[in-house]
Symmetry: C2
Subunit: 342 residues, 2 copies
DNA sequence: GTGAAAGCGCTAACAG
DNA sequence: CTGTTAGCGCTTTCAC
């Protein structure tokens, strides 16, 4: 049946009004070149005709997409879901569109997403690296292209790429000092891969506190793995089976702590009585846990806006930006775990 | 300093190899026109030069973007975060890109996002409508353009637009029948706006069950509001203050149930002893709640794949598709609430 | 097998 | 203030 009409173009509007395409283009973008009355008229017919600018065409000729690519390892996760929502908010306010991609902790997918974003010619990239990111060649190329890229939370390399991270070491240090003050001596760590910044830095803070207080670390009570609940679960079970459970466990992330909670329950160990815990990062879920987990936390919307402003600045400098690093303050929040042992 | 190099184009590759742009274009897309050896050579230099196709240019000339727009009311939410992740998965497998936008339950933002997607010339749209969506004019236009659009979970109008919804009425009916069997008689509902399909249909199931069992509904124990935790909280407080708390409350969503839990706690009412609840929808959080909330639930990845397949089919028919409606089965899961009253 | 020509819809640069 | 010219980078004919 229908006449399968193509979308309205500037040209369609121009013809209808007996003006040139350029005039329409300018009017629609409120260019001062065009008189107010004409602008109004043009806008009206554009509206009537149901005109929507063709971004592909616009991008092609203007070399600007007003689009920022965002890559996160997971989205069904308190931290990432909230930071992504906050980034969307910033983008909306600044008239940018976001292209969101989820790497699912998979370096190959991360690569694919990066390539897609390069093909989309995004104006900038915001990324939290996957567990074992092996895409430094692309990142290098991005740097060479002077395409703004900002890593957040999880970086691949602190010096070459702009980043906004948490005070991972300091936060962990503070947390562990508190643990020690509460009388714990046998303190273990279910940590993250040591090829990731958060894995390394949070472990570093842990070590520093232990060293300062002259406590030795039992290597068998330290496991490095991923950042998810299953990692926490499996690591706990492993320590348990090998009889290496300490009195206290410091978990690298909230999901890992959650895995520990589950594993402890399954193994019949009570938290915090039999074994106590603390973790890096919080979750809404923590409000409903019994016991709730004491944790090192931070402000998510500050984090998001810092990240967004950084890319935005770099975009605005037109390829003349410097690599920058920022840290977001963390705070120790004491809840039902890690309470005074007596 | 640097020579601010522009991205590599087909032309660059062509010149280097002394062939035409067209040849390169075809080779890169594995067109059978081009010999295998040439194709291989072209791909190699493309790789070396760091070529990334310019999607804007490609879209402009091919009229296809391989992109699907997804709009959800919230993302920091168990249901939506997971379904979005599942949709991403489907898209990835089918070589589609996703443009995700979050309306934040705001009709105006929803409209803006829709417009953006139209300007991006997405091949199809997947949307879960915001609380009070007032964008039917755009939806109508989308239909007129024969642009595939599929509503999921929250629709605006069941007949004119393709949709995949839950068996809202049946699920609620089943749940309430169970409540009644457990001996409850004074059953209230903290429901959703009646201009939304889920608000209406879940209430309808509730009414149907009550009628069937000859129980009367106390209008003061029924409140219609939004789908978030704060809505559940406020509604409970209202009923409490007005002394209209029933023995049992059916919550429209999991977040609403959560709000009820909080409000009940704040008001010193024990669940399920003083007042018992059930809800539509589940959450990972439910595993940690004490008591956990019995609920009507469903399979999220089935849901996502049904939705995705539907848009994909419609896209593949090249504008010759019919409006379709599907429903996803729901199941009553009994946990710690809504247990036999004795 | 390969390529020349034309055009997708828009905007930047420059005239008038 | 308005319009002309010239692409942006790619793909789709269609000719060779």
């Amino acid at each position: 049946m229908s006449k399968n009409k193509r979308p309205i173009t500037l040209n369609n509007i121009a013809k209808k009004l007996n003006v040139s395409t350029v005039t329409v283009s300018k009017a629609l973008r409120d260019h001062t070149d065009i008189s107010e009355s004409l602008t109004k008229k043009i806008k009206k017919t554009a509206e009537q005709l149901g005109y929507f600018p063709n971004f592909a065409a616009r991008n092609l000729s203007s070399k600007k997409t007003n689009t920022i690519g965002v890559i996160v390892p997971v989205i069904a996760n308190y931290f990432f879901a909230n930071i992504v929502e906050a980034i969307y908010e910033c983008a909306f306010e600044n008239n940018y569109d976001i292209i969101l991609a989820v790497s699912q902790e998979d370096s190959k997918k991360e690569r694919k997403h990066l390539e897609t974003m390069l093909s989309m010619r995004v104006d900038g990239i915001i990324i939290s690296a996957s567990e074992h990111s092996e895409n430094e060649d692309i990142f290098k190329r991005i740097n060479k292209m002077k395409l703004p890229i900002v890593f957040f939370d999880r970086t691949i390399n602190n010096s070459d790429y702009s980043s906004v991270t948490l005070t991972n070491k300091e936060g962990s240090f503070k947390a562990i000092e508190n643990v020690i003050k509460n009388g714990y001596k046998k303190i273990g760590h279910i940590g993250g891969w040591q090829d990731s910044n958060i894995g390394r830095d949070r472990y570093a803070g842990f070590k520093q506190a232990m060293r300062k207080h002259k406590l030795s670390i039992n290597k068998n009570s330290v496991i490095f793995s991923g950042f998810g609940k299953e990692d926490g679960y499996n690591s706990f079970i492993k320590m348990y089976n090998e009889n290496n459970l300490p009195d206290f466990l410091f978990a690298i992330t909230f999901p890992v702590a959650l895995g520990i909670v589950e594993a402890a329950k399954d193994m019949g160990r009570k938290i915090p009585k039999d074994i106590d815990i603390i973790c890096f990062g919080d979750s809404d879920l923590n409000n409903y846990l019994k016991p709730s987990i004491s944790c090192v936390t931070h402000n998510i919307s500050d984090f998001a806006s810092k990240v967004f402003k950084l890319v935005l600045n770099q975009i605005d400098t037109k390829k003349n930006f410097a690599v920058k690093h920022f840290e977001i303050e963390t705070e120790l929040i004491l809840k039902d775990t890690c309470i005074i042992k007596h």
